[in-house]
Symmetry: C2
């Protein structure tokens, strides 16, 4: 990857002349930017506020890069990467010219869900049995898979397309593709607030075979499956016709903003896809529905409802005992939407506070709703953390410490494409500000197995 | 990352005109290619054989991309990625304009060791405390770190340079950089053959602090260290003056091919570094020494020595019992050098065979030396696997199955830059060819905790 932004789509020649395809790319980028502005306005946001000013440009760039597979050809990748491997010197070897199975395991990929336009993660395992004494450079297996991942996809089609492309490109005896896909759960603000919707992601395992692995010879698949010691192929659950995307499972559809839906359709068009393709017909409405979860005015009303049930004095907990101790509420799940990239970030919130009593069940529900109140918006993690601290301090007194641990989809599906990283932010108020030992005390109470990542 | 090779350094304009800097880049690339040819010839290889024909070009490209940091500026990255975060609406918040600590954890990076030119892996944790109400886009922290990683480096200098650059670029209250670095062990063919040199990698933990973290206030570091729950900073072992690179610890220096050494010095020069910089003075000789481990003629003599101690009849094991069973020899370590990229790949070999007796210690040593014999060469994993199978079948009979599990440095430090993936290859001979149950039987005997990865 180029470590710097902007290398790929904004090449300006020294003399100011631009190539034709470049002009076309710029026009498409501008069209996407306009559509993103419509979406932001539909969310009631001010497109000119500092944090959002460059968001349309960032989103357009991310979507174009994330769907670069439409412009790539497998032939260009495989060409020149097939190496003859005739085996040991003649007379010594007796394995013949056929090679044994080759499998590259645990390749991290991401793709875009054709059903809701959100990125999904893929752990990819690619195997083939060489023929004609030719093996392919290992990294090319990944590159071919990436061509199809960087399109609007569904897991099974992705597996099938990668499989077919490798079969045609390498012409081996057979190809096996095994994908472990993980789609962010589609949070529903109502069920999240009522604690009935805590699932983090939807997982699906799909496989595809070609050549000698096409006609269902489990014996031949055996070697590959044995090499994936931690995957139980029996749990392959992507073969039914039901769409895996969680956007399909939530039934309630609110009033739809048709301007926003049209804008998303125009984005799909600008990416070079056909918005009228069957699988894409409902996508704009589903994406708008997802986005609408993060319309701040929506959520504020919800919290107002909750806030009425609270007696702040009762929660202050600073009366009966002079010796207060630290209480914690750990691993409160949250969902949010990064305002810089219009992509989800999600994880857990840990809250520490001084009190002479615990938090009763109602109050835990309340803390969770504070978290959702600030989460279900266009946000940045740093602000989210401080806002939670400040709101919680109204309920639980002035000595508050909040830690937010989050996975940012934008770190995986944009520019740097880093899987596996996560971000922790801290906000401290009152006594925690001046007492490092108290901070350490609280931080050490967070379990190693914190549910982020 | 661009999914296709060649985008970055070989832009050809439509009218055939090339820019000045591009011509310079091409000249430097050609100079590196010539130097790589000298190295291959020094190893006694035929630079025109199929597997090596494009190696000089691949190596040149990889080295140029892997040291792209020399041409990047931190200012360009951070510019426009600083976002004002004034906090909650006035009147509600009481955390003031200062932000709380922010830490991005578990970023995978790689860099090139200035001491031996081999890539080393970095697990990178970056923290800062915002000031002036400004936070920086999370991905920019990685991008800044990558600028300095993509140079010839040593762990402590890398940490210090990243720290300083973030301090200057973001102007926060302070920056903390914690790097867990892992350098491939420098195998020595002699000690490997005698089983005294089984270490896989050298680990080092280094830290750097600036701003409020510069003057040794452990209280302030406390928050960040608590957030890295699995790292014991007390084991920070990179602060002494001893170079971590394993190339320094091996004392024996064979006869040096001065042509090869000069070639490596010219590569360093072409990358824009000064081969006379103190830390780089011995680097060409050390790199040549590493490469020379993989000079095939060297190793063949070694194996010839071992082969004399073997009685093939004794090893055949096909006499006393009609019912043979599968014996296994698992997790035999190996080292090899990818002939396509001149980069190490390494891992473990598992051997299965039919016999009516076990392999006595001498024979295990023998199997290990067969593995090293075929490993210590310019290789590809597919060929290595088959060569081991075929050689072993001369010693242990015709029913042989070999699995090689390997990590390829080229997958991490070249084009696709994928950490965490690994490659398995299988070669089968005799009864294993026709008996899927036997193959499955053997494959299932390989423990989950196979030492690769």
């Amino acid at each position: 990857m180029g470590a710097l932004d902007g290398g790929r789509y904004n090449v300006k020649l020294k003399n100011g002349v631009k190539l034709g395809s470049e002009i076309e790319r710029e026009e498409q980028t501008l069209a996407i930017e306009d559509a993103v502005k419509v979406l932001l306005q539909g969310l009631g946001e001010d497109v000119n506020r500092e944090g959002l000013r460059k968001t349309p440009h960032r989103v357009a760039k991310a979507l174009r890069e994330g769907t670069r597979g439409y412009k790539q050809k497998v032939k260009d990748i495989v060409q020149g990467a097939l190496f003859p491997e005739a085996g040991l010197e003649s007379g010594v070897g007796h394995a013949g010219g056929e090679g044994g199975p080759v499998m590259v395991r645990d390749l991290d990929l991401f793709s875009y869900c054709e059903s809701c336009l959100l990125p999904f993660q893929v752990k990819c395992h690619l195997g083939y049995v060489p023929s004609g004494r030719r093996v392919v450079g290992l990294s090319k297996l990944y590159r071919v898979a990436d061509v199809f991942a960087k399109r609007l996809q569904a897991p099974q089609r992705l597996a099938d397309e990668v499989c077919l492309a490798l079969q045609h490109g390498i012409k081996p005896k057979g190809v096996v593709v095994i994908l472990q896909c993980s789609h962010i759960h589609f949070p529903n603000i109502d069920s999240a607030l009522h604690g009935s919707d805590q699932q983090r992601s939807v997982q699906v395992l799909v496989t595809s075979g070609s050549g000698i692995f096409d006609s269902g010879k489990p014996d031949e698949w055996g070697d590959f499956l044995c090499l994936l010691r931690n995957i139980d192929i029996k749990h392959c659950n992507g073969l039914n016709d039901k769409c895996w995307c969680p956007s399909h499972s939530s039934t309630k559809v609110g009033p739809t903003n048709s301007g926003m839906v049209t804008a998303v359709a125009s984005i799909i068009d600008s990416l070079g896809e056909d918005p009228l393709r069957n699988e894409l017909l409902g996508t704009p409405a589903r994406f708008v529905k997802w986005l609408t979860n993060f319309k701040s005015s929506n959520v504020e009303m919800k919290l107002n409802g909750f806030a009425h049930t609270v007696d702040p004095v009762k929660c202050n907990g600073s009366v009966s005992h002079p010796e207060h101790r630290i209480y914690t509420e750990l691993n409160l799940p949250f969902w949010s939407q990064c305002e810089h990239h219009l992509l989800p970030f999600h994880g857990v919130v840990h809250i520490g506070y001084y009190s002479n009593k615990g938090v009763d069940p109602m109050e835990k529900t309340l803390l969770q709703s504070v978290v959702h109140f600030h989460g279900f918006k266009l946000q940045v993690q740093e602000r989210l953390t401080r806002q939670i601290a400040e709101t919680v301090s109204l309920l639980l007194g002035r000595d508050i410490m909040v830690v937010v641990e989050a996975i940012h989809t934008c770190m995986m599906s944009r520019g740097i494409e880093k899987c596996g990283s996560n971000t922790a932010t801290i906000a401290v108020l009152g006594r925690f500000l001046t007492d490092p030992a108290a901070r350490a005390n609280f931080l050490q109470s967070i379990p190693d197995s914190s549910t982020v990542g």
